[in-house]
Subunit: 208 residues, 2 copies
């Protein structure tokens, strides 16, 4: 599972999505070209999160894309997802690696070169770097400038995706910075035609 | 770790506690006779929960009582706590047992004989049965009558603690029902002298 295509990294958002179920938004986004799916749930119970993860895993496994669980290592293990994504306020990467062993993917959010280096040393497989643009889906984010992205690229050898407010109007500003993919939330799941939006963002992300 | 003394089962509550830190309330309650500690955190970040669990584990290990983590199997593993307690809205017991293996304690909340039987079949080590009295710390609880407690006692062979609004004024009503211990929250941590309150509740719990 370690040879991941990070080109278009979909992050789910139940509140923003344009269709009735998370499963449907994932299926459509992957149909349009999303190459990784991160399931992010911030307010449901552990049981609901677990049951949703089991259902989404069936879809991503059938479509042959990895499923990453936001924050909850236990949900990842229980649903046999492919990995977890850890923010700076989640369980530290080194502790997560001990629990998960070498087989699961671990991603870490980084907004600074030192956070990126730390994550790589602690066993992260990839980074989520952002917020690269201002965004409504995360309120606690600092702006990550092209200069900082270049510093992060120089600081680590693991792949990273840019995240935060990326849409079809601004994605081209991220070209040439050494980014391995674009993480998208509302630019895909909030659009009326999720599959078409994913197709368009995928084409743009391939030019990064 | 499986031969647990469930007599006085302390559940932490940051909002109700009378002293400044969770660590201090745990230390005092165990000093007064709490024989198991459950760390329950509902609103902090995973990182804070993890770091607190690591600190509390040091205390409970030194005092030789088991530490149980509410809901979060990943925090249990990362902090090397002794087990988890799972509500009916948390990850199902059978899935938790698969992740945790045989060495960690798993407790499950049960308010009905069928929930209790299911939990035992799914590998639970003990049950938390309640709410046995009305309580302000849980809003989604159904009343569990002495008759239901007797039915649960008849339905399973694993130990169980009663939980929900138990205090020095009502604990004697639980005598003779086959309960293995009393789980307490505000009757200990919200009292001015936590150690004295624990001592008093411990003496009463020994008569169950």
């Amino acid at each position: 599972m370690r040879n991941i295509d990070y080109t278009l990294y979909l992050v789910t958002d139940r509140e923003l999505m344009s269709c009735p179920t998370v499963e449907e938004s994932v299926e459509r986004a992957v149909g349009g070209g999303a190459s990784v799916v991160q399931l992010r749930e911030k307010s449901c119970s552990s049981r609901e999160f677990y049951e949703l993860a089991v259902r989404v895993k069936r879809i991503t496994a059938a479509l042959n894309v990895p499923l990453i669980i936001n924050d909850r290592i236990d949900i990842c293990l229980a649903a046999d997802a492919d990995g977890v994504h850890l923010g700076q306020k989640d369980i530290p990467c080194a502790a997560a690696r001990k629990i998960l062993g070498g087989d699961k993917i671990i991603g870490v959010s980084a907004a600074l070169p030192e956070e990126a280096r730390r994550a790589e040393l602690d066993g992260a497989d990839y980074l989520g770097v952002g917020a690269v643009f201002s965004t409504s889906t995360k309120s606690d984010t600092r702006p990550v400038t092209p200069e900082i992205i270049r510093q992060i690229r120089a600081a680590v050898s693991i792949p990273f995706v840019a995240i935060g407010g990326i849409n079809k109007g601004n994605i081209s500003q991220l070209c040439g910075l050494g980014i391995n993919g674009a993480a998208v939330v509302s630019a895909v799941v909030a659009q009326k035609d999720i599959e078409a939006a994913a197709r368009e963002m995928r084409a743009a992300a391939e030019k990064l």
